[in-house]
Amino acid sequence: MSALLEVIGISVSFDGFRAINNLSFAIAERELRAIIGPNGAGKTTFMDIVTGKTRPNDGQVLWGENSRSLLKMSEAQIARAGVGRKFQRPTVFEDQSVAENLTMALSAARGPFAVLRWRPSADSDARVAELAAEVGLGDQLPRKAGELSHGQKQWLEIGMLLAQDPRLLLVDEPAAGMTLAEREQTTTLLRRLAEKHAVVVVEHDMDFVRRLDCKVTVLHEGSVLAEGSLDHVTANPQVIEVYLGRG
């Protein structure tokens, strides 16, 4: 299985602090992967680099069959190439309805003039309704996103990612601030997502990661410390030393 995303030896420093240090990472099509690591391990910076928000000082980020470099592309171009991102805090457009949020994310031409001419069709309405139902917001379409509960916002954001139909989804701490029931539903949602898309989940919560039941990459000080099943990495003495031991 060839890699969908391949990150080779990237390094980035902010004011002398090496946030990412010679990090290499690869994920295959339709793979679910969890990234764990203590605070400051470089998890979020890693996502920033893949999505084009931060430029690495060194290294390569290659994408897709033709191994295109993502480093010369803007955030919007990377998103259009098929990398979706879910932020830690739910970032939906609170002033707009659930339907409007989903419609914006729906995969379609993104240029200003194409969007100016775009009109909703029976197809697009049906797709929006279907997506909303998929994330459990089927009856919330006309509501403003700002009125939704924290958990519902998280799901709406996941729904928007689904609408974008990316090949790779980067999900930052999806379970943060969720109730137990919401977590269960989120786990199911992510597992379902991974059937069609590659998904990278950055998470602090060990129980949550255990429930995802997937390959785990442990980051520490900007590099990969260990990789494998959760049981495998948690048995690693180094991992216990830097991360789990402190808990």
Partner: protein, 382 residues
């Protein structure tokens, strides 16, 4: 099948209806076409106010919808005025010069008429020939095209540079202020080619319409301004609705997130900024023939700040709010500064409204920001 735009947003229909009723009422009460209850100068003031309302609605698209607090909109407004003013001045002066030379024993050549016209127009700045930028000034279609092209191009280039470098928020506002100030300072120079601080004058006289009195012309311009406001409002409402409007508001609220959805934020800002600049320029091109004169003071940074204040007081993010704000505050402003507002005698101090109006306006702005952030339009909604 979806309902058409105006039915989905009844406020558009109400706005257009109010505008139509207003225009008809002013026409019936005007000196040119009706009873004469409203003086010609008042008709002009009302016509100019409609142009300001159009500029405010365009400002709302830029600020209220896209979140770009542009404090340089009046540069586009004035440029539109200058472009049409050039034709008005040349055509009219040429007519006068030709008439005065017609009685000469030898009929004047076209070159002589042009030369005399140039001396007439540029004598005040010590020049006697047309600068290069006046090359097309003799042609109405060319100058009408420039009304759109010059401000449009300025907005495109300025916006491209600013948005591409991701200049945002207060820094962008300062940059737009600098733009309008720089342009004003440039135009103040006598060798700028636009008559320096004299500006362009006599714009109320429309060449070829000498037989039509100002009392009728003023009503014609009121109609033209009302039509421009109506069409501009419809266009902006159309742009601001639907998916484009949705993306635009999303950019205002969280532009980084919009980028990760795959939209080129810069492209959208550029389209909105340029479109608004063009609409503002059209408003200016209709305003200055009613004002009669334009000079570089019109581009002063404060003018664009006023525009933002009107939109804030009217209620940004709602197009009719911006129009209400512009109409309400600009009319109030001309009443207070016109010397007709009664001074208040406090015994030890007399409040003279010509001086104190600015304080009152500033205070209202602060109060609106604090207590009614949605402005006058927000009160209507309730």
């Amino acid at each position: 099948m979806r309902k058409p735009l105006v039915l989905r947003h009844p406020s558009i229909l109400i706005f257009l209806a109010v505008l139509a009723v207003f225009t008809v009422a002013v026409t019936i009460l005007s000196a040119g076409y009706g009873t004469g209850v409203i003086s010609t100068s008042m008709v002009k003031t009302l016509g100019k106010t409609l142009c300001l309302a159009l500029a405010a609605v365009a400002m709302d698209l830029v600020w209220g919808y896209a979140g770009i607090l542009s404090l340089g909109q009046m540069a586009f407004f004035a440029l539109g005025g200058y472009m049409i003013g050039m034709w008005l001045m040349v055509a009219r002066t040429e007519g006068i010069v030709a008439a005065s030379l017609a009685n000469m024993p030898i009929p004047p050549t076209q070159a002589e008429i042009t030369q005399a016209t140039a001396t007439q127009i540029f004598g005040v700045v010590g020049a006697d020939s047309f600068p290069a930028i006046w090359s097309f000034a003799g042609s109405l279609p060319a100058q009408l095209a420039l009304v759109v092209l010059v401000p449009g191009l300025l907005a495109l280039v300025f916006g491209w540079l600013a948005f591409r470098s991701r200049v945002n928020g207060v820094y962008l506002s300062i940059l737009t202020q600098a733009m309008t100030l720089a342009l004003a300072l440039y135009l103040f120079q006598n060798d700028s080619g636009l008559r320096g601080n004299n500006g362009l004058s006599g714009l109320q006289n429309i060449p070829g319409l000498d037989g039509v009195g100002q009392e009728k012309l003023s009503v014609w311009f009121l109609w033209a301004s009302a039509i421009a406001l109506g069409l501009g409002y419809l266009l902006i409402a159309w742009v601001a609705s639907g998916k484009f409007g949705s993306v635009t508001r999303a950019i205002r609220d969280d532009e980084a997130r919009v980028r990760f959805l795959g939209y080129s934020v810069e492209g959208y800002k550029l389209v909105v900024f340029t479109l608004a600049a063009i609409i503002t320029a059209v408003a200016g091109a209709l305003y200055y023939p009613q004002a009669g004169i334009i000079n570089p003071a019109e581009l002063a940074p404060i003018a664009s700040i006023y525009l933002a204040v009107w939109v804030a007081i009217g209620g940004r993010g709602r197009l009719y709010g911006a129009a209400i704000g512009a109409v309400f505050v600009s009319l109030l402003s001309s009443w207070f500064t016109g010397g007709r507002a009664p001074a208040i005698d406090l015994g030890i101090y007399t409040i003279n409204w010509v001086d104190w109006w600015q304080v009152l306006l500033g205070l209202s702005f602060v109060l609106v920001t604090l207590f009614a952030p949605k402005g006058i339009a927000g009160l209507i909604r309730k």
